[in-house]
């Protein structure tokens, strides 16, 4: 029950993000999520596409430094403190969240949380025990 995400290394200079998004856009690849972790010198663009496998192949062929990562995805009610509850669960079990982002789809009244943790299996078990709804790629 993991969600595949693509990560692309990107130098911090003009035109790079366009090159990436355009490479996928012109091939009809649709983004589900996209976030950027940036530092002074470089960034890592993380995204989920409707067709991750094809997006990966396209970017590889274009010479991007791209990898596939598996994330935990959960669905919670779109209400205050819902995110905090998930985070608290991880914290109480000493599971380290390496990064996390969330988004809301307008036609649902739920919020989706995607995160990378240091102990994926344990986190999954924990979330299942608590009855938190896990996402798979299809649900996205």
């Amino acid at each position: 029950m993991l969600v595949k995400q693509l990560s692309v290394f990107m130098e911090n200079r003009p035109g790079r993000l366009y090159k990436l998004t355009h490479a996928l856009g012109k091939e009809g690849i649709d983004f589900v999520t996209l976030s950027i972790a940036d530092t002074k010198d470089f960034g890592i663009v993380r995204f989920i596409a409707r067709d991750n496998e094809r997006a990966y192949t396209i970017l590889k062929n274009e010479g991007f430094t791209v990898g596939i990562t598996e994330l935990i995805g959960v669905e919670v009610a779109d209400r205050p403190n819902a995110l905090a509850e998930v985070v608290q669960l991880m914290e109480e079990s000493s599971i380290n969240i390496e990064y996390l982002y969330s988004f809301v789809l307008t036609n649902h009244n739920t919020a989706k949380i995607l995160m990378r943790v240091n102990e994926t299996e344990r986190a999954l078990r924990l979330l299942e025990e608590k009855g938190i709804k896990l996402l798979s790629e299809k649900i996205l």
């Binding site: 990560s7 530092t39 470089f42 890592i44 010479g63 430094t65 791209v66 990898g67 990562t69 990378r116």
Partner: protein, 438 residues
């Protein structure tokens, strides 16, 4: 131009010989040296045998061009002590400089060689006016690098008070310079300029210093840098040249005419050759500088190719000396870089990079001079198969490259990680270095 320094000739009996007197002396010393290396140094015996040469074939300096060249690679092949012409027990000091593949170039000195070195360094410091009354502050690094000890030996030989400050800690350097009343400074020209620019920032005033002159070397520098240095420190700044293979600083030194450096040619015979045809060139032609040591006994070198490009000129100098002068070094006939006084080969950087997982062998080295200090940046592509997800993973690759490069070459570099494929591939000979220093 300050003109504070009183240049004097330390050893007129050798520094003011006529050309024929000098050549006669060189011939005698050359014959002795060739015999010494043939009998005691296996690589030289092999080189000469291969060229069908016997020591008796070398009768004067005119025969010098018959002798085979020596290159840095030969010394490395013989690592560590294969180029000794004297037994290990006769060596009193061993120096080493960085090599291209992590292997060091070793130079052993007998007491005689240390005496020669002190003598030539003293002659050089006399050009910048160092006497027994001077206080000489040595801010070259002390250690395997010959800069520190070379200047030290020269100053001691003259009997000046020597302050072995060594490199680093700018505030302490400035405090010592001011409070001890140093009259002379020895370090790399870029560091001297840096010291000059830091005086004000440190809340000090150059008027409180007693400096009059200095010997600056271990890296090439321009006349513009001299102007800057003289203006900042209120001194006469002279160029000192040397390389550890031959001796260390003092092989040549600029007199107060500030028009080229006098080679101590009763100890080191200079030649300039065409780096492609290897033919000797006449005075006045630019080519690669080659030295033959003729008084050393520990590790004499025959026709050692320095890879430094310059011009030699003969004739009596306005200072009174008659020794051959070499121009400022105009470049290199190989790809060696001098960064903050340290010799760096791109191949060393490549070797360091290859030790790190996650990066590719595609890199570009940029060298700049920022605020008078050499700054090196290495752009390097991440490995194509890297899956970059965590920022900390990428940062740790960067850190590893930094650490490897620093420990391999002894100079820090700013590392910039690049997307794979982003560094321009060159057709033919790869361009790995862009040196943007003037």
């Amino acid at each position: 131009m300050p003109g504070k320094v009183k240049d004097y000739i330390y050893r007129p009996e050798y520094e003011c010989l006529s050309r024929s007197e000098m050549e006669a002396l060189q011939s005698e010393r050359l014959k002795k040296t060739v015999k010494l290396v043939y009998e005691n140094c296996k690589p030289y015996r092999e080189k000469m045998d291969a060229a069908k040469l016997k020591p008796a074939d070398i009768k004067s300096v005119a025969d010098l061009s018959k002798l085979p060249f020596t290159v840095k690679h030969d010394l490395r092949e013989a690592y560590p002590f294969g180029f000794y012409s004297a037994p290990q027990r006769d060596m009193v000091e061993i120096h080493a400089s960085s090599g291209t593949t992590g292997k060091l170039t070793v130079v052993g000195y007998t007491q005689n060689d240390i005496d020669v070195w002190a003598e030539v360094a003293a002659r050089g410091l006399a050009m910048t006016g160092v006497t027994k009354d001077s206080i000489v502050h040595v801010a070259y690094g002390y250690g395997l690098f010959t800069g520190g000890l070379g200047a030290h030996y020269g100053a001691q030989k003259i009997g000046a008070s020597t302050v072995p400050a060594s490199a680093g800690n700018t505030i302490r350097q400035l405090t010592l310079l001011r409070d001890f009343g140093a009259t002379h400074l020895c370090c790399t020209p870029s560091y001297a300029i840096y010291l000059g620019t830091e005086i004000q920032k440190a809340g000090m005033n150059i008027e409180d210093f007693s400096l009059v002159g200095g010997a600056f070397g271990a890296e090439p520098w321009t006349y513009q840098m001299r102007d800057e240095l003289e203006r900042l420190l209120h001194i006469d700044a002279l160029d000192i040249y040397g390389l550890s293979e031959i001796s260390g600083p003092g092989v040549a030194m600029e007199c107060m005419q500030k028009q080229g450096s006098h080679v101590q040619e009763d100890h080191f015979i200079p030649e300039v050759i065409d780096p492609v045809t290897l033919e000797p060139l006449p005075f006045g032609s630019e080519g690669e500088l080659v030295f033959t040591t003729i008084t050393k006994t520990g590790q004499p070198l025959i026709r050692y190719r320095t890879r430094d490009l310059c011009t030699l000129t003969a004739g009596k100098c306005a200072c009174g000396r008659t020794t051959v002068k070499m121009s400022k070094v105009k470049g290199r006939s190989d790809d060696m870089l001098i960064i903050r006084g340290v010799n760096v080969f791109p191949s060393q950087i490549e070797a360091a990079i290859m030790n790190v997982a996650g990066v590719s062998p595609h890199y570009m080295i940029y060298v700049d001079r920022i605020n008078n200090l050499d700054v090196m940046e290495i752009d390097i592509e991440l490995a194509g198969d890297l899956a970059p997800d965590k920022v900390s993973d990428i940062e740790s690759i960067k850190k590893k490259v930094e650490t490897e490069v620093n420990s391999y070459i002894g100079v820090s570099a700013k590392i910039k990680l690049c997307e794979s494929g982003s560094i321009r591939r060159s057709e033919g000979k790869a361009v790995r270095v862009i040196d943007r220093r003037e």
